[in-house]
């Protein structure tokens, strides 16, 4: 083996959200990987400093064009926790539905447009031989977006998610229609998911600790009182998890990486699958048996495919239940509990800290804020991509070591597939920018 230094550079990664790049430097037996975030910061969390607390959901929404719904909800929750505002069960149930719709939309976008075509070596989803895969997939994506539009007041960057609840009630007729439309797509979705389940994926099993929300008997996504479980058996509450998060600056990245108590953890659909798959919905449970689940990051694609069915079935079930609760007229339990943004400032005089953690599509997302005199003093967003960055680098090293004989050109493509399998979002990750 020559000791000459070789660098594999993906240059700008194709088919991911935001701008990023992976480099792997090989010199003899030494292999070093660097996952670069090249996305520029937009300083949204800094912008929030000094702003009225109720602005958080609207600003946080702009973190991501795919997961705006979960960023808005997480922001509302973090502020509510900081100020000790309790929201009704109806609000939580409705937020849960929006959260699931967000995750469905994000998974469909990732599977259909970003990962499947790339795994198959195509230049675009529009070049797939089976045109039906695109037609069905894009219909599900569009339906999930419509559901968000109906409930959130707008298809992208939803104004109806506010601190304290919802600005306006969700109408029963519209709710039933969106649920019925989704139900009508379930059979087609099975076909789409089958396509993803049958993909041949590389094997890159590597041990590390996985982390996901945990609530006995459920597959928790958005939950008021879920704990956080690690695959090593430890269980903690959200506050303990949050306190274990450490920000690490890298000179090659516009965003910080996040470690948990000085070690690597991996979050996301595969972690959820490993820890909670027994509690998936009925149709998803049948699918889940097909895969021998191991800690192989490439399996995230299949975990997402299983979750697509889970989200759809849950949305259909919960939507039906909610329709019974929601009335056509204004239901004060659902509407915002406080008249926000009055000229006086809704929360003048109030202070506190709040942390909220839930399972965004790519894994546990944590929003934390400190409020003083109704104004935001500090706001931080720990995204799953920032948490998974260390795993991406370690997997890249492992991949190069194991697959080296196939040659550098091919390695580059598999490395790109590896990064993409984590479904990283660099626009989100840059929320934890290197400037503070």
């Amino acid at each position: 083996m020559s000791s000459k230094e070789i660098i594999i550079d993906t240059s700008e990664l194709r088919f991911i959200e935001g701008h990023g790049r992976l480099t792997v430097k090989i010199s003899g037996k030494d292999v070093v990987a660097e996952f670069h975030n090249l996305e520029g910061p937009r300083f949204l969390t800094k912008y929030l400093r000094g702003k009225p607390a109720e602005m958080a959901p609207r600003v946080a929404s702009r973190i991501c064009g795919l997961c705006y719904t979960v960023h808005s909800i997480s922001a509302a929750e973090a502020v509510e926790r900081a100020l000790g505002i309790k929201v009704s069960k109806e609000v939580r149930d409705l937020r849960n539905v929006l959260y699931l719709a967000n995750n469905l939309r994000s998974h469909m976008m990732h599977l259909l447009y970003l990962s499947i075509p790339a795994i198959e070596g195509l230049i675009s989803v529009l070049r797939m031989r089976d045109k039906n895969v695109f037609r069905v997939g894009s219909r599900i994506l569009t339906k999930a977006t419509e559901l968000i539009e109906i409930w959130g007041g707008r298809s992208v960057h939803v104004p109806n998610v506010v601190v304290g609840g919802f600005g306006a009630p969700i109408r029963r007729k519209e709710l039933l229609k969106s649920v019925k439309d989704l139900a009508g797509l379930l059979e087609d979705a099975q076909g789409f998911v089958r396509y993803a389940m049958d993909l041949e994926l590389p094997d890159l099993e590597r041990y590390r600790v996985l982390a996901a929300s945990k609530k006995p008997g459920t597959y928790p996504i958005y939950s008021e009182d879920a704990a956080i479980a690690l695959s090593d058996g430890s269980i903690m509450n959200g506050q303990e998890y949050y306190e274990g998060l450490e920000e690490v600056t890298k000179e090659y990245s516009t965003s910080k990486h996040v470690y948990f108590k000085d070690t690597e953890i991996t979050v996301g659909a595969l972690s959820r699958m490993m820890l909670n798959r027994r509690y998936l919905s009925f149709g998803a449970r049948t699918l889940v048996e097909e895969v021998e689940w191991r800690i192989n990051p490439f399996l995230v694609v299949k975990a997402q495919a299983v979750e697509v069915i889970h989200y759809m079935e849950e949305l259909i079930r919960l939507g039906g239940e909610l329709a019974d609760v929601i009335m056509e007229t204004e239901n004060p339990a659902v509407c915002s509990v406080v008249d926000l943004e009055t000229a006086e400032g809704a929360y003048g005089g109030s202070k506190g800290r709040g942390v909220f953690i839930a399972e965004a599509p790519r894994g546990m997302l944590c929003h934390s804020c400190e409020v003083e005199d109704g104004l935001i003093k500090e706001y931080r967003v720990y995204t799953p991509t920032a948490v998974n960055s260390m795993s991406i680098e370690r997997d890249a090293v492992e991949l190069v070591k194991r697959f080296r004989p196939i040659g550098m050109e091919k390695l580059k493509f598999i490395l790109e597939d590896l990064v993409r399998s984590y479904d990283p979002c660099l626009s989100c990750a840059v929320s934890l920018d290197v400037y503070g």
Binding site: G40, R42, L126, S138, L141, T142, N160, A343
Partner: protein
């Protein structure tokens, strides 16, 4: 005809809006035009090089040196450049948020970060379609017009107009800061229709009259400072146009 879709520093919400709203119809767009670059939808022709295009749609603000370099290439290789969304047209929240951050305090190896700018600060822009996110209907309309060499238009009425047409109760009456009178309509008063004030995410209305607005809110007892703070939020660099008649 060749189209291209680029993304600079952004949330990519404008491109995902087009993708999800077009849904299966994306196939029609794909079949009717040559699309050599479309972030999230296809692998660019010729790798990272910027291809020649008749119409280039650019989402995002200019924050990094990479944004700047790419944008200059885009201008060189495109006949017509359209700013897609508020990040591209005004700099969006990042415009205000990036000012006052000590950007010299930390140097990165490959990326240089500067204060956020709309794309018009760097290149000549032929048309702006603002909106956070851009409206898919307005995009389609603009595309059809451009293909037929007709100048696209965005609404010339304010959000208030649509809000009144919907019969909403005015939030100013509840002493809440709403920028509707200053904001470009076309969104169907999306926010005020669910009880959330308008923050003018689509940029200033053609008829925006700040003086009149400030007088009105003063009469209604709405907080002026807060209104001005919110006006900066999405209006970014364009706030200068709105403020020019003030004082």
């Amino acid at each position: 005809m060749k189209l291209a879709f680029y993304s600079l520093t952004s949330c990519e919400g404008c491109l995902t809006t087009l993708i999800t709203k077009l849904g299966p119809d994306l196939e029609g767009l794909w079949n009717n035009f040559d699309i050599d670059y479309f972030k999230l939808v296809r692998e660019p022709v010729g790798g990272s090089r910027i291809p020649k295009a008749d119409i280039a749609f650019v989402e995002g603000a200019v924050v990094t040196n990479l944004d700047r370099e790419q944008l200059l290439e885009i201008r060189k290789n495109s006949r017509f450049v359209v700013a897609l969304g508020t990040c591209a047209s005004s700099g969006n929240i990042a415009y205000t948020a990036s000012r006052g951050v000590d950007l010299k305090g930390r140097r990165l190896r490959d990326v240089e970060i500067s204060e956020a700018e709309p794309i018009s600060s760097v290149i000549t822009v032929d048309y702006e379609l603002s909106g956070c996110p851009v409206s898919a209907e307005e995009f389609t309309d603009a595309l059809l017009r451009l293909v037929n060499s007709i100048e696209p238009v965005q609404p010339d009425f304010s959000v208030c107009y649509e809000c009144k047409m919907k019969g909403n109760d005015c939030l100013l009456e509840k002493r809440r800061v709403c920028l509707g009178p200053l904001a470009m309509g076309g969104c169907g008063a999306a926010c005020t229709s669910v009880g959330a004030p308008c923050f003018s995410c689509r940029g200033p209305a053609a008829e925006a009259d700040l003086d009149a607005y400030l007088k009105t809110i003063e009469k209604k007892g709405v907080d002026r400072q807060r209104a001005l703070m919110l006006l900066h939020m999405f209006t970014g660099k364009k706030v200068k146009e709105v403020l020019k008649n003030e004082q």
